[in-house]
């Protein structure tokens, strides 16, 4: 396991990054052309009402003070009130977040199940007909936008074959799995194309490496060579890649939630944008940033656990 000091150093690194993230998010709303109060208020708001909104938002204070207040509120979990839903932003987000995390994990799982075996198949016989077919199909998958894959799956498997519901989330765990199958698959197809490409390349490299030849030569069974030497090494790069594509994955869930009407934070983000609900947009953007950095952190930890060489640096 990685040492405590490594973890601490990694955690400390996040602080300046997050300070910048907060500045970005803070400035984003301040950069609104015109007065945010006018953008937020109803068209027929009076001057007094506008003044009230400005005061509520703290907009009558100087910028640095506003920023400190924003940081303080955020750290205490207060992200303001949503204009559109008339409820605390934190509450709304916490309510919707599990759905999105469920969807994201589901699609990662599907992507691994899809790409893993196929990568082995392709790497076992480089440039064979099987390898070329697998690679071509996934190359096309890489050129397909998530919303398009989603619409095709929706039309064929949900609307025509009626194997899956056309949208929504469901109530029980199995029901969730059933409802989210197609949205997860739309994201998984794209993610698996990225994994497959990388996994295939690293498998080919590892299978050819001296230490694997050596392990075979000293008479280790095929299974032990595969699991202990080949898989472990190929895993390092796949975990890194999966971690780094978390941003892509979240972007994908945002789109797929919209296509399949899944009540997660992605769809909420889009609704907030069309409603010009700035506190909610701000809170959601921050949530996404937190999610991504948590995954980056986990990736680092898993990586240094799988590959001790990385702990030195």
């Amino acid at each position: 396991m990685p040492s405590l000091s490594y973890l601490l150093a990694r955690l400390l690194q996040i602080i300046p990054t997050f300070l910048l993230v907060m500045i970005f998010i803070f400035l984003l709303v301040r950069l609104l052309p015109g007065d945010p109060a006018i953008a937020m208020a109803e068209a027929k708001a009076t001057d007094a009402q506008l003044e009230q909104i400005r005061h509520n938002l703290g907009l009558d204070q100087p910028l640095p003070i506003q920023f400190l207040v924003f940081v303080k509120n955020t750290l205490t979990g207060d992200l303001g009130r949503s204009i559109m839903l008339k409820a605390p932003v934190t509450e709304i987000i916490l309510d919707r977040l599990p759905t999105t995390i469920f969807l994201a994990l589901y699609s990662v799982l599907l992507a691994i199940c899809l790409a893993g075996p196929l990568a082995f198949l392709a790497a076992a016989r480089v440039n064979s007909a099987v390898d070329v077919t697998i690679r071509s199909v996934f190359q096309v998958g890489l050129s397909m936008p998530v919303f398009y894959i989603g619409l095709v799956l929706l039309t064929v498997l949900a609307a025509q074959m009626r194997w899956f519901p056309v949208g929504g989330y469901g109530t029980s765990f199995l029901d969730n799995l059933h409802h989210l199958m197609l949205p997860a698959l739309s994201v998984a197809l794209y993610t698996s194309a990225i994994i497959l490409r990388n996994l295939r390349a690293s498998l080919i490299e590892v299978l050819d490496a001296d230490y694997v030849q050596f392990a075979r030569a000293k008479g280790l069974s095929r299974r032990i060579v595969m699991t202990r030497h080949v898989l472990r090494n190929a895993l390092v790069s796949t975990v890194t890649l999966l971690g780094l594509s978390i941003g892509n994955l979240m972007s994908g869930t945002l789109v797929t939630e919209t296509v399949f009407a899944v009540p997660g934070v992605g769809r909420l983000m889009l609704e907030a944008i069309f409603a010009r609900d700035y506190p909610l947009i701000q809170g959601l953007t921050l949530t996404f940033a937190v999610l991504v950095s948590v995954v980056f952190l986990l990736t680092d930890i898993v990586q240094s656990w799988l590959d001790p060489r990385l702990r030195q640096s």
């Binding site: 300046p16 936008p145 919303f147 979240m250 919209t258």
Partner: protein
């Protein structure tokens, strides 16, 4: 003078040999053909499209693909093929404008921080960390939300995020090049920093940037059409593939061609960029790496 002439003919010869090697690869030829056709469609839709993309024909509403309308017609009787062809103009523009400014800004910033290092490099590193902490699409739509929907605002939003990736790539390349003897020789000869960076180091760092640019243009089309689909990019009645797919969304069962056909154009164009990009990556990779 003679050295200059000699080197320029040698350069022409090298480019010729490079093109020869490129065109002997089937994947490059296919990708190149797709892109050439895409550019032709983007430049001359008025010649190549059979119908006016905006003309309603209420006597031919939602007709399936036929000889008269190869891609069918939409819910206003507009010819889908013509709309897909006119959309090439918008989507190819997106591929270019959403990436070119990011490339120019990113390469300049990356070259400078890579060469000088120091405090600027540290600040740059932190900014990169912060920007990649946002999912790309989330940050772009948040910026579009502030600026308002539309193509130009979309370019601004994408550029504001995308330059980081070019800068990161260029910085790494420049730092690798800086360690070479020829860079030290330039400094000994008393060349200005500007000359060393932009005339000596950067030209040696262009291959990976060009390769990345190719894949990035494919990504820009995916991103742009997604924004169009979500209603944040190109605005109807403009013909853009994402917008066209969104228009067909309510008729998936009765008029599937409305959404299917523009999607094929996206996939095909994306494929063209990645085939050319992959082939260039192979060809430009220095031997022995």
């Amino acid at each position: 003078m003679s050295i200059v002439v000699q080197s320029s003919t040698r350069k022409a010869g090298r480019i010729g040999a490079f093109l020869g090697r490129a065109f002997s690869r089937p994947s490059f030829v296919i990708g190149f053909a797709i892109l050439a056709l895409s550019i032709a469609l983007a430049l001359f839709p008025q010649v190549l499209a059979p119908y006016d993309p905006l003309a309603f024909d209420l006597s031919a509403i939602q007709q399936g693909p036929s000889l008269v309308h190869p891609f069918g017609t939409d819910n206003f009787g507009r010819d889908v093929l013509s709309r897909v062809i006119w959309a090439y103009r918008v989507d190819m523009q997106m591929a270019f404008f959403a990436t070119i400014f990011a490339l120019l800004i990113g390469v300049t910033v990356g070259a400078l921080v890579g060469y000088y290092g120091g405090i600027a490099d540290t600040i740059f590193g932190r900014c990169v960390d912060a920007i990649i902490t946002f999912p790309f699409l989330v940050l772009v739509i948040a910026i579009v939300a502030v600026l308002g929907p539309g193509l130009v605002n979309m370019y601004v939003a994408i550029t504001a995020v995308n330059w980081v990736y070019y800068a990161r790539l260029t910085r790494a390349e420049i730092m690798a090049q800086k360690a070479n003897d020829y860079a030290a020789a330039g400094r000994v000869l008393g060349y200005s920093d500007r000359r060393i960076i932009f005339r000596h180091l950067l030209p040696n760092a262009t291959s990976p940037i060009i390769v990345y640019w190719m894949t990035d243009m494919a990504l820009a089309i995916l991103l742009g059409s997604s924004l169009g689909y979500l209603g944040l990019g190109a605005q109807p009645p403009a013909a853009e593939w994402g917008v066209l797919i969104a228009e067909g969304r309510n008729f998936l069962l009765t008029a599937w061609w409305m959404s299917l056909m523009p999607g094929i154009a996206i996939v095909l164009t994306g494929l063209g960029f990645s085939l050319v990009g992959d082939a260039l990556a192979d060809l430009l990779r220095p031997k022995g790496r």
